[in-house]
Structure formats: C-alpha cells, structure tokens
Amino acid sequence: MNGVGLAWKKFTRDRLAFVGFLIILALVLAALFAPVLAPYPDDTFLIHPAQRLQPPSAEHLLGTDSMGRDILSRLLFGTRVTLVIAGIAVGASLLIGVPLGLLAGYFENIFSEGIMRVADIFLSIPQVILAIFLAQSFRPSIRSVILALSITYWPWFTRIVYAETRALKKRAFLEATEAVGAGSIRTILLHVLPNVSSSIIVRSSIGMGFTILTAATLGFLGVGAQPPTPEWGVTIAESRQFLPDAWWYATFPGLAIFIVVMGFNMLGDGLRDILDPRIRRGFD
C-alpha cells in the first residue's frame, strides 16, 4: 500500500478527523449547491411579511424570521458568506504570514528579529478588538471585515513557520544543502517549505474555525455585513428582540456556526495526528 493510501487509511480510522472532514465537505457542498438545496432560494432578497416569525413546520423546517424568510434557506446561503470571508481571510494571512515566517526563521539577522517583534506587537492586542478597530478605520463592510481578519491572523502563521524553520535549522541536513551551494531561496522553497507544510495545513484548518467565529462575532456586533446579507452572526443579532417566543431564530444560526467550526477544529486535530504526530497536542 503506498503512502497516500496509508495516510487515507489512518485518516479514516481517526474518527474525529473523519467526521470533521465530512462536515467540511458538507459545508462546501452546501455553499456550492445552495440555490438547489434551499427550499426557498429567493429568500435572500425576497420578503414575505405575512409569514413573519413562524415556528418550525413542514413548510419551513427551521421556521421563518422577522420578514417571513425561510431560515433554513438563509442558513444555506450563509455558508457562502462564511466560506468567502473566512477563506479569503485565512488565505491572505497565509500568504503574508508564511513567507515572513520562513524568512525570519531561516535567516538570523536583524530582520528576523524585526519581523518577530512586529508579529508580537500585532498579537499584543486581542484579535476581536483589533479587528473591530481595523474595520471601523476602513469603513464597515464585508470587504473591511476580510481585510481586518487577514491583518490580525497572519502572525499565527509566522510564529509557527518560524518555530518549525528554526527547529529544522538545528538539524544537520540544512547545513549540508548550503554546503553544496544551493542558494538560500532555493533551500527555503525546496527543503524548508515542504517540511513546514504540515504545520501550515493544520494551522489553516484551525485558523478557518477561529476566523469563522471571529467573523460571526463581528457580524453580531454590527461590524461588516449589512442586511439583507444572510450572515449567521447578523441573524443572531436580529433575533434577539424576538426572544423568547421566536427561539428558532437565534438557535439554528448558532448551531450552524458550532457545527462548522467544530468540523474545522476536528479536521485540524486529525490532520495534526496524521501529518506529524510529533507536534505537541494542545499547542495552539
């Protein structure tokens, strides 16, 4: 059995990670096929005040909101908003953070010190608060939320890549490559990067979970997404004044957030087990 097959077998055996993988798969499929899956796909922009605040029923499995819109359909479309925001934000942080981490880790000069110091400074302000501040400086919109999240998350990638690169450096083989005459950039790209990639992948998965929570928090606080965008945090904020009677309005979006973030966390944990069991558990 080859390496991939072995990894797959290990993967499916780790039930937690496999469940996580399935959840993420479901999320992606829901986002892709929302128009088909949603019973009322037009409820992202149509309103039906006559069906306002109806409890879960056969016609509306998760009930309706204050404008009579089907909550299930809006949740399904919300997966798109969620994936876009978190995906771009984590992707951007990766693109910023990984190269910086590689450079800081590989070279041992004043720039490495500088990069890590800057990372520390960014990390000195709790992420949600910094994200709020950034978003308010930009002018609140979904775009500014994505920007704010990217700017606050890159240090995590940098830190982990830095630590891994330094650990690698301690091992002899890097010195050997250098002795052979390979240039620094070559060495970084061909030898260091593949070895830190597993950490990056794990970090990305956990980062997705974390970013989705932060994005929902920002939506709840009213920073970023505006009506009628079916963002989950915004929906929960809307629902508050109709409690406790319209309990479904607040409950289901929160469950959606929970399931999705759980999925990414479980996947991250599982990937960590498979890709590099030596990475300490609980090191976040």
């Binding site: 922009f45 149509l46 309103i47 005040p49 006559a50 306002r52 605040l53 204050s66 404008m67 009213g222 505006q226 009506p227 009628p228 809307e238 508050r240 004044q241 109709f242 409690l243 406790p244 009677d245 319209a246």
Partner: protein, 536 residues
Amino acid sequence: MEERGPSGKNSGKGFTRRDFIKTVGIGSLAISGLPFRPSGVQAADSTRYIWGGPSEFQSMDPHAIYDVTSENLRLNLYDHLYRYLDNPPKIHPWLAESYTVSDDERTWTFQLRKGAKFHNGDEVTAEAVKYSMERLLALGKGASALFKPVIDPEGIKVADRYTIAFNLKEPYAPFLSIMPTFCIVNPKVLEGKPGPWGSEWLSQNDAGSGAYVLEEYTPGVGWKGKRFKDHWMGWEGKHVDAIEFRTIHETASRVMALMKGDVHGCDGYLPVEQIAKLEKADDITVYEEQSMRVCLIRMHNQRPPFNDVHVRRAISYAFDYDSFNNEILKGRVARNPGPIPNNMWGAPADLKGYSFDLEKAKAELAKAAVKVDRPLNIHPMTGYSQTDDAALILQAGLRQIGVEVNIIRETWPTLSGKAKAMDTSPDMWIHWVSTYYADPENWIGEMYSSSRWGAWKASSWYKNPEVDALLDKARTISDHATRKDLYEKASRIVVDDAADIWIYNTKWYGPHRKSVKNLRFCPVGDGQECRWIHLA
C-alpha cells in the same frame, strides 16, 4: 429538585444544619421561579417610578434637544407658561395664569402666577422668562427652530415682575400652541457656569422649576429625579417621590424588565408581537390611546436622484404599505397618506396618496429625467425595530424595479444631528413626527416650509414656493376655517410632489405595570409626565 449537599461531596460529617439551610435555600430558589430579592421591587420602591426606553439621553439641557425621548425631562424637571394635558390635547395655564393677544396677532402678553419657585428657592419672574427665551434663541438648538422665525430677542419685554410681552416679527396664530415647547430656566443658577449660557453645565444639571428635581444623571444610562415639595402646583393625593428614566437598548431586555417589575413602564416602539404578549400578561396593562403620530420615510429632495419628482413617485409606489401596516404591525395602525394625521384638522379627508403598485412605479421611473445610477441609502434607527422592517420592505420593493438600496442603521441622536445640514443629511431615513403641539403647523408647517430647513423635521429639504406661500399665510391668520383650507391645499400639493413617503398614523401604546395608577396621557409628551401617577 434533588436534595444534594451544596458541594456534592460527602464530607462524612452528615447533613449539617448549614447544609440544610443552603439546600433548602437553593432549592426553593429554583422552585419558586422568582429571582431572590431580599426586598421585592414593589415593596421597597413604592415611591420610585422607573421607566425604560430605547434611546440615550444626550443632554439634560431643555433648550438643547427637542425630541420625544427628552420630553420626560422637559415635562418633569421644568415648567412652561402653558402646558397641554389629556387627550385630545387641551392647553392649560401653567406658570402663566392668563394671556392676551393684540388684534394684529403680533403682541402676546402673559401674566405669570405669583409665588412659583425654582428648585433652589428663587421665584419665577418675568426676568427669568425673558432670559430663557433669549437663551433658547441664542443657543439655536432644540425648539428654537419654532421660535426663531417669529421672535427676536429685542422683541421680549418685561412689563413688570410678573408680566412679560412677546412682540413678534409678524403675526403668528399658533404662538400660544408652541408655548408648551418652551422651558423656563433659572438665570441665577446659570450665572458663571461653564459654556455659553451655562450650556456645558446645564447638560448635566438642573435649573428648573418643575415637579421633580434632577438627582443624578449618567450619560448613556439614564437620570433620576426626586419630588420637588415646593412645586407651585402643590401635591394633593398620592404621588411618587422619585422617578427614574433609564436607557435599555435591547427590546428583549426592556420587555423582560417590564415583566419582571424592574421597570414600571416602557415605550410602545416594540415589535407588535411583544405588545401582544404584554397585553396578555397578568400584571401589565398596555394603555392604548388615539394619538397623532405619523410614521414616514424621508427623502432628500435636493440630492439626485431624489430631486426628480418622478423618481420620488416611483419610490412611493414601491413601498408595500398594506404588508407593513397589516402584517408587520398587525393592523394596529391606520394608513395615513399625507403628512398631517388623519384625525387632525387640516388633513384632506379624501386624500388618496400612493399605494403599492410596481407597474406605476416602473412607469414613473421611465419618465424620470434624472437616472438612478447608484444604490440609495436608507437609515433605520437603532432600537426601533419597525424602522428596520420598513427599510427591508422598501429595499425589497425597489429591488423589483431595479433600484438597489443599502441599509445603514444609526442611532436617533446621530441621524437627527446629521439631518441638520444638507450635506450630511441622509438619502432616506425613517422616523416619526409626534405631537409636540396640537396644530397642523407641527407637521406640515415645520416639515415642508423651506424656511425651516436645518431642523430634523424638515430633513426632506423640500422647497416649493407655492407651498411656502400657503404655509406662511396659514401661520399668520387666526381664522380657523381659512387655515384649514390652506393646510388642506398644501397637503395635496406636497403629496402630489411625493416629498416623502407617509406610511401610517399610530395609536399610542404605553405598556405599564398594573401598579402604576392614574397615568394621564397626552399625545404631547407621550404620557411621560409623572406628577399625576402613584404606585399601588
């Protein structure tokens, strides 16, 4: 509830007396279903009346703000020369005992009652009234917009200690009716205080003569007052010794606070479902009164594309009035197609106005010279869920004729502040115009005269010389029948011009605990005058 030792561990000493008390205590807490309060709200506070509302109090200065939220401080901490009471509103002498007006409607003379005291013991004199009017005009905020066009400081004359005369710039028939918006402050208290006319000091303090004295003001949280024993009206019967007005932004929190008894009353700007729930609650009464308060969506008539009447008409046809009034508000309001409430004179009885008709909307849009090439912004108000609903309904309707709408929620102080200048004034925003005084001038006069630009009521920036002429004339004539005609005519033109989108005229809903007795509602002031009530 299981009987279990508080820590769950068996210390081996057996069930001690302390354990017993703790267990029973915690157990009964759960069983009784009530939060344990050593002294229940009713018992300890039978003399403090607490009211919760959604908006913050920006300032305690009665000359600085002029909105429904601040009515409670103007009515309770301060007095006016005349005041409205009851429904339908009747004007009563208050600090003044009587008035006379010259034949040309230009000189109004008021006789003050003797012996009325300010909170610090000073007597209320004509000098104080003069100072107050000068202050109101000089600060240029709040209700000054009502008085600036008609009176200059030079026109205020103190005839003797208790007589004051106002010589108006031109005849103004509604002058008496606007008197209840003008508060009397004590000049001696403001002397030497920081800010122009002591305004920085007065924003957090009290210089009034009203039935209650300001005890404590916390910005963003609320204010507290205690009964002024030497108030000129005296105190007969039962009263509340202390009052408190609190800001509770979240609707659910306000409703819960009322149901738990944490507050004795709250506003009626709640979602209809919450009002229905409160009506069913055992210890709550939801007072319902015929009122005069119009809900409308404003449009910035001077800013493209709203400067084209066809665009405005198209938007007017794109709002689903029936859906909003009957489904969201469950029919608790009445469709009001024009700016004056239907139950006020001056509103034409046969006015049809606009209805939800997408075909007509599209047709109007096609006729427009100014193209709609950008998304339109609509600003609902934080804490007022109806405005969110209205914005969503308009957005949905306009989408169907190809017009995009952005929804930007802001607070009332922000929006009413922005609405003062043409540049910062919103594209569209949603608010109510309540009865500040019982005259059509309160609505159509203040909203659609171009001379009133700069006040939040006039934030449609509407200018029509024909309407200006009609409204100016109606102000200066005192013959009721002629005024009625003029206002009706003006209404028809304004509606034809689709200056704004008028949605409904509402009843007043005042959810209060049953323990609140003798609430005296007047559309002016929204039932927030506290001197009449007592707690059972």
